[in-house]
Symmetry: C2
Subunit: 329 residues, 2 copies
């Protein structure tokens, strides 16, 4: 296997920028590709991403660029764009990506239009791609500040997973590896939807006990979904499943939780989103469609999808989320 | 089975008082036994527990008393005293408890002196007791305020569990039932220890991502422990396991999390506890002793026990908690 000396990060949002610095801290040289030419130029010369990750200095070994040609030398490519933009971004860059470099998906979600998981989207666009996925409880600001964080990287090939994990790890950013690609992407996609539900309950002022109960019930849904779609239970119980669920459902720093919070507090959907939908809003319908197809009950995800599409009022959803028949757990 | 019309609550702290009101809301008549004669008299006449649950009015069908003889008519007894006081309290009251009334333990912890789980402590004192356990994510203030909460009640006899769950449930306080007594008590005891660890990391300012990662790793420890001690994985993944862990590790309302928070922020142990140890501090040593006996690794619980006993500095513990060898999850 080619040693991973040079990493390309595709996507200059907060997470892409944080991962670029993390890989640099791990000893890699990094090319940070940003779609916006002016932003790339500013990042390269001002050594910061003022729009998405203000206050963080880009590591010396990170080069920001908007030139697809600059991706050619990468030994590994991190795809760090919003889930719904993954296909178009890859299609745009495919001819510039080095053919044998593994592609590490760092986007969390299910493609709404096709109900495809992210690694399948990559294989659709680049059929012979060596695909991996990186996910876990990691706010970009925490990673960029050098706070201790731990994530999971999965690839079907254990050696590839281990070598990518080693290449991206640094003392503060710890990357564990796994071969359960599907389990990792299910955790990352599902938790965004569940966080909207927990946010709604929080926004209605129903208390921390209710939030915790709903988080546990949401986890049970996600575990059932994973079981039906080929993810392993132990992966869901790990960093990329439970860990990320706890983070996303517990902090207003999460866009998905915040969206729920505003909806629960009574904001109209358009106002709640502030014009920019959180990932969970896109993924919700795809998640429940995949659940239906596999015969899996996901009442919490259903309620989120119904509220976001206007099929259910927040009052009715809140009742549905918190009252269930009295029965054995 | 005798219909459960009359419930006795033993223990007049916040949780006992909240449970007395919850059972009253479920249609039971309730005797709330408090050790402190003056407090019982005040509660009975002022209709509130000013010391532990200020601002909450006792339901009309709750009678507060300090007379053990008043427990005689109960169809079920809730034991709601601190875990380390359960044995002495039961021994004191045993002769006054109606012989066939089931005893529902609502204390979370392991007896430090004997390493016994709570239901075993009950059976030690009253060998032919019909024992159940109630546990789950439920701050007393949330339950007392009528916010929606959900907990688990377990008894070996499913009919007993179902009838107790039905008797204690009300629209806002939902009691699910299970037959996995050991699984429920392991979740309730273990989460207090893990919450101290997560509090320490929070107190050191290590960020929400680190807290979430540690919560997930703590859950994995608890699951291993349960597997070795006869608790079911699905119970640990439910309200009384994961749900309560999420609540306890995520809120400064939790005494155990708060203890860790103060320790992590640099308070000396004596100052951190404010003279009153959180339950997790008592349970930590017993938990790891039971883990050792079963050959289960619990590095997070070990670190908590070591910090609380002064065997490990907070700095060293914090490093141990957040840095582990890079490996497969």
């Amino acid at each position: 296997m080619t040693p991973i000396r040079h990493v390309a990060v595709v996507g200059g949002g907060a997470w892409g920028t944080a991962l670029a610095n993390a890989a640099a801290a791990g000893g890699r040289s990094v090319t940070l590709w940003m779609r916006d030419r002016a932003a790339a130029h500013a990042a390269q010369h001002e050594r910061s991403n003022a729009r998405y990750l203000p206050g963080i200095v880009l590591a010396d070994t990170v080069s920001a660029t908007a030139e697809a040609a600059d991706l050619a030398g990468a030994d590994a490519v991190l795809l760090v764009v919003p889930a719904q933009a993954a296909r178009a971004t890859l299609a745009h860059l495919a001819s510039s990506l080095p053919s044998r470099a593994p592609i590490v998906v760092c986007a969390k979600g299910i493609e709404a239009a096709t109900r495809a998981f992210m690694t399948d989207v990559v294989r659709d666009v680049i059929p012979d791609a060596r695909v991996a996925i990186l996910s876990g409880p990691s706010f970009a600001a925490d990673v960029a500040s050098g706070l201790p964080t731990a994530v999971t990287l999965a690839a079907a090939d254990a050696d590839l997973a281990a070598s990518l994990a080693a290449a991206l790890s640094s003392p503060s950013f710890r990357v564990y590896y796994s071969t359960d690609v599907r389990g990792v992407e299910i955790g990352g996609a599902g938790k965004n939807v569940l966080a909207v539900a927990v946010g709604i309950v929080a926004g209605r002022g129903l208390g921390d006990s209710a939030k915790a109960a709903l988080t546990a019930r949401g986890f049970a849904e996600l575990l059932r979904f994973a079981g039906a779609h080929g993810g392993r239970a132990e992966t869901l119980m790990g960093l990329s499943g439970l860990g990320d669920l706890v983070l996303t459902c517990g902090s207003a720093q999460s866009r998905n939780f915040s969206l729920g919070l505003r909806i629960g507090a009574g904001a109209a959907l358009g106002d709640a989103t502030g014009g920019k939908l959180a990932e969970g809003a896109f993924t919700a319908e795809a998640l429940i469609a995949l659940a239906h197809a596999a015969g899996v009950e996901m009442p919490i995800a259903e309620a989120v999808a119904a509220v976001l599409s206007g099929r259910l009022t927040v009052d009715a959803a809140s009742d549905a989320l918190m009252s269930r028949p009295l029965r054995s757990e």
